[in-house]
Symmetry: C2
Subunit: 218 residues, 2 copies
């Protein structure tokens, strides 16, 4: 299958590597055609790895990942072009992190809106699913790094789109029963707002290699 990935950071490259390792074809998209990280990635990846602009990646992908920072995601996807996203599954893995000079984290947007919702509003013909934004990149593509059962969350307005994401996550190693459906795209608020908690836990554990699990009635 052909995937377009918008964003060349650690998350975008990790997703791209995993997809290529699974036999898929990927275009890693950046703001400019001559992005060094994207060129280096495509250079070392072999025939199934390409790079290009945001628009190139969106045009290439049957499925598109938004792996940009959440505060710039709408602008990056506008550069990719609404017409290249129309009708496609658009998996939004972003978080709208804003760090102060002192390292304090706040979110923008927050509380009454989310990046996931903004993207769905701005690109009404895309089938947006919020997913994977609650774990670090290594865990995203290799859930077996952590012991035992742990959970991911999906939110989106299109039930078929969420089912397609759950199937793709299955290729990544996530059993379907580990995925919790939080409802429509407003559920993106809930998972984005976990980031301040996630960051505190990261500092507590001294590692981003952890994930949420749930305990129920004994």
């Amino acid at each position: 299958m052909r995937f377009g990935i918008i964003g060349t950071g650690m998350v975008g490259q990790t997703l791209a590597d995993k997809l290529v390792s699974l036999g898929h074809e990927v275009t890693l998209g950046s703001r400019t055609k001559d992005n060094e990280k994207a060129l280096a990635w495509a250079g070392r990846t072999g025939p199934n790895g390409h790079c290009g602009t945001f628009a190139d990646a969106a045009a290439f992908g049957e499925v598109v990942f938004n792996a940009t920072g959440g505060t710039v995601s709408v602008a990056a996807l506008q550069a990719a072009g609404a017409e290249r996203l129309a009708g496609k599954l658009l998996i939004d893995v972003s978080n709208p992190l804003v760090f102060s000079p002192e390292g304090e984290l706040t979110l923008d947007p927050v509380n009454t809106d989310s990046v996931g919702e903004r993207i769905q509003r701005e690109f009404p013909e895309a089938r947006v699913v919020k997913a994977l934004n609650t774990v670090n990149a290594a865990v995203m593509v290799e859930p077996g790094r952590l012991s035992g059962e742990h959970n991911l969350f999906v939110a989106g307005n299109d039930e078929d789109a969420k089912a397609e994401v759950i199937a793709l996550l299955g290729e990544f190693g996530w059993p379907a029963e580990w995925i919790i459906d939080l409802g429509d795209i407003t559920g993106a608020r809930a998972t984005e707002m976990m980031m301040p908690f996630w960051l505190r836990l990261y500092r507590h554990f001294g590692s981003g290699e952890f994930n949420y699990a749930f305990r129920r009635r004994a």
Copy 2:
């Protein structure tokens, strides 16, 4: 030990019942002396259960719980009186929940502030610890209702105060190693901002009887 509980709702009464069952003495405080819920609680509780105003509860307690709704907590504690809270451990279990007529949850304050921080700012001589606001009332006082290890979080500026909270949680049945210290009182933001996620999970599980656990490197 003597406890004052500010707030007569389900959380306040559940904490009060647990404390009395452990042999402590409790005054359940409400806005007015003739609050029917508080009178009924004291009437059925026996000699170690009292009721009164917010000020009565704060004066009575060597330790004070804030179990009011987070949007009215500062006002309730102002009614209790800063001089009656000075020097005391003040355990803030509130969340600043605002529900729209459609049942949509937002928080106030959020992101750049929290109820825990507001209380510590407003009552600088109180030793504020944010705790217990991530689970429902039944789980707060009986962690064994859920299977396996699951976690609570504390945040506050006073290390001794957090140690006292962890000891008290031990009386409730929480092993000290299940309690994660999120740092100073700004950590209250992190746990308060989990509430939209908690509410989605509540709808997903069909029950509030669940809690967070963490998976680490295998």
